[in-house]
């Protein structure tokens, strides 16, 4: 619990919800007749409505980018490091919007929401959603907010994939696309990690084919394993060596299966924190959305051909020790962009923090992103 809310934070924030009645046809063929999106906004939309920034979240992210919900809220939003007054994504200059994606478990319509047809939670019957479906729903929110064009759409990891999709599906609705620690599609290895996570959840006896709400259970064991595995892939070997090494919790090994090494304790702690806040069906959906993302193949063309539709200016950022979405994956994006003569800058940030680096306040990261955001701000109406 923070003693008091730290200076530099946006402070106390609250979420809002929009209800949508216009049916949404999803890529999987199913239709959501009505749905809700929960979102948060920070800063003021200027009179020209040209200073709006959309931040798309990653697998376990939410609409809660920054700030605290109450004086004794123990944790700020997930991108507190970057979003706030005077910060890199400066809420004094920009109107920043975070939205919880469809299928999520933090307020937007998803598996935990009551299905109007049955009166029971959707559970496993919630339709598969894709990155393109999210962008479509976010575009509807954009219209509700009275924003014609985003000054920038920004996202890391799965969020970066949404930024790419925005630039392809609604090219004239964003001036800048900031794609951080992302990839144009998953590799076999990426999909394999997701599948192991899904199997862990789906084979948990408490999963009940996804109907666990009715059984009053949570597939906790499976979700824990999924999170531990996922978390491992967000860190580098180097940062784990530095954080934990082979340190033991006690002085000597016990020759048993309890928590002996510090790294085991850390993983279990991460799992504990996750199971209380995240829904297993949502986790399954999010990993599928990741697996399916491949706008180039979907369009039957290469990445360069599909990005020919884009007209935003791009800023692509990767981190040297990110092995989940390595710099090489960002190179593919950058190449497709300069193949189309689009304005693109690319920074490869030296960091040993692995994939998670995009969440951190690393000096060079802040420096380049700050410089780019200054440029965006200079183009907005004062």
């Amino acid at each position: 619990m923070p003693e008091k809310i730290p200076a530099g934070s946006i402070g106390l924030v609250k979420s809002s919800t929009f209800h949508f009645d216009q049916p949404l046809l999803l890529a999987c063929g199913e239709t959501l007749n009505a749905y809700e999106l929960v979102y948060e906004t920070y800063g003021e939309l200027n009179s020209a409505r040209d200073n709006a920034i959309l931040v798309c979240h990653a697998l376990s992210g939410t609409h809660h980018l920054a700030g605290y919900y109450s004086e004794d809220d123990p944790k700020p939003g997930w991108w507190e490091n970057l979003v706030g007054p005077g910060k890199v994504i400066d809420t004094n200059r920009f109107f920043v919007v975070g939205v919880n994606n469809l299928g999520g478990c933090h307020g937007s319509t998803g598996p935990t929401t009551s299905n109007p047809d049955t009166g029971k939670p959707y559970g496993p019957d919630f339709p598969m959603v894709t990155v393109a479906d999210w962008v479509e729903s976010q575009n509807r929110l954009t219209q509700k907010l009275g924003i014609e064009q985003w000054a920038a759409v920004i996202g890391g990891s799965l969020g970066g994939m949404q930024v790419l999709q925005w630039s392809i599906d609604y090219p004239d609705r964003l001036r800048h696309a900031i794609v951080i620690a992302a990839a144009p599609k998953l590799t076999a290895q990426n999909i394999a990690f997701n599948e192991v996570a899904r199997q862990a959840i789906r084979t948990d006896p408490d999963f009940h084919d996804g109907h666990y709400y009715e059984h009053g259970t949570i597939p906790e064991k499976g979700l824990r394993i999924a999170r531990m595995l996922g978390h491992l892939t967000y860190m580098s070997d180097e940062v784990m060596a530095e954080k934990f090494g082979r340190d033991l919790r006690q002085d000597a090994i016990n020759f048993d299966y309890g928590i002996e090494f510090q790294v085991e304790s850390y993983l279990r702690h991460q799992a504990d924190r996750f199971v209380g806040t995240f829904d297993a069906n949502t986790y399954l959906l999010m990993t599928k959305a990741l697996d399916y993302f491949d706008p180039a193949t979907e369009a039957g063309s290469g990445l360069s051909a599909i990005l020919a539709r884009a007209c935003a200016d791009f800023f692509v950022i990767s981190f040297t020790s990110d092995w989940r979405f390595s710099p090489q994956r960002s190179h593919e994006i950058v190449k497709a962009l300069h193949d189309n003569d689009l304005n693109v800058s690319y920074a490869e940030i030296e960091s040993h923090h692995g994939h998670d680096a995009f969440l951190l306040a690393l000096p060079q990261y802040l420096s380049v992103l700050g410089a780019y955001m200054d440029r965006i701000a200079s183009e907005c109406t004062k």
Partner: protein, 202 residues
């Protein structure tokens, strides 16, 4: 125009307005800014240094963080009208390969480098018996990034070997002084060498 380096002024004159340019080792983006702001040039800079990347982004130019020694394989053939390599050739690990890459992705190449054949360097090495340290080569042998220093003659010999046709050559001093000595003996009095070139069979 207030460009900080004398080679930049000549490069600007060599570049056709509204052309597409790739600037290898673009530093803080000064040259590309000038070219795009005042000559309608578009394109990208490639740079490796973190501070320079930040400055390029501040200046609003397209910069891609990349090690030039890894080659330009992400760029397709004939993507640019000009590929510039200013004061960087001597610091690259494979200058001959880089020249080949420049003319693969671009129609013309422009290279500038410190002339190791300059009289000051010759005297420092020939009579002093030590590696030259002067205003063109300000660092000591042990901390200089320059690993492939050459003279005008060396460079022209390499071009011949690589079937590169030299279209224009200039030798200048840092303060852009000219004189009969410089014209007659560019390899002796030139501090900075500038070349514009293309493939012979182009």
């Amino acid at each position: 125009m207030s460009l900080s380096r004398s080679d930049f002024r000549i490069i600007c004159d060599w570049i056709t307005p509204d052309s597409r340019v790739l600037d290898l080792g673009c530093g803080n983006g000064e040259l590309l800014s000038e070219l795009s702001n005042n000559r309608g040039v578009s394109g990208y800079g490639i740079e490796i240094d973190d501070k320079n990347i930040s400055q390029c982004i501040k200046a609003g130019i397209n910069v891609i963080q990349r090690d030039l020694d890894l080659g330009l394989s992400d760029f397709d053939e004939e993507s640019f009208d000009f590929v510039i390599l200013s004061m960087t050739l001597q610091a690259s690990n494979y200058p001959h390969r880089l020249l080949g890459e420049m003319l693969r992705v671009g129609t013309e190449g422009i290279v500038t480098f410190p002339n190791f054949g300059n009289i000051t360097s010759r005297i420092q090495l020939g009579f002093g018996g030590r590696m030259p340290v002067n205003r063109t080569l300000p660092l000591e042998w042990y901390n200089t990034p320059n690993v492939h220093l050459c003279t005008l003659k060396d460079f022209e010999e390499l071009c011949e070997k690589l079937d590169i046709e030299i279209l224009e050559r200039r030798a200048v001093t840092h303060d852009n002084k000219t004189g009969p000595g410089l014209n007659l003996f560019p390899n002796l009095f030139g501090e900075i060498a500038l070349y514009r070139f293309r493939n012979k069979n182009a």
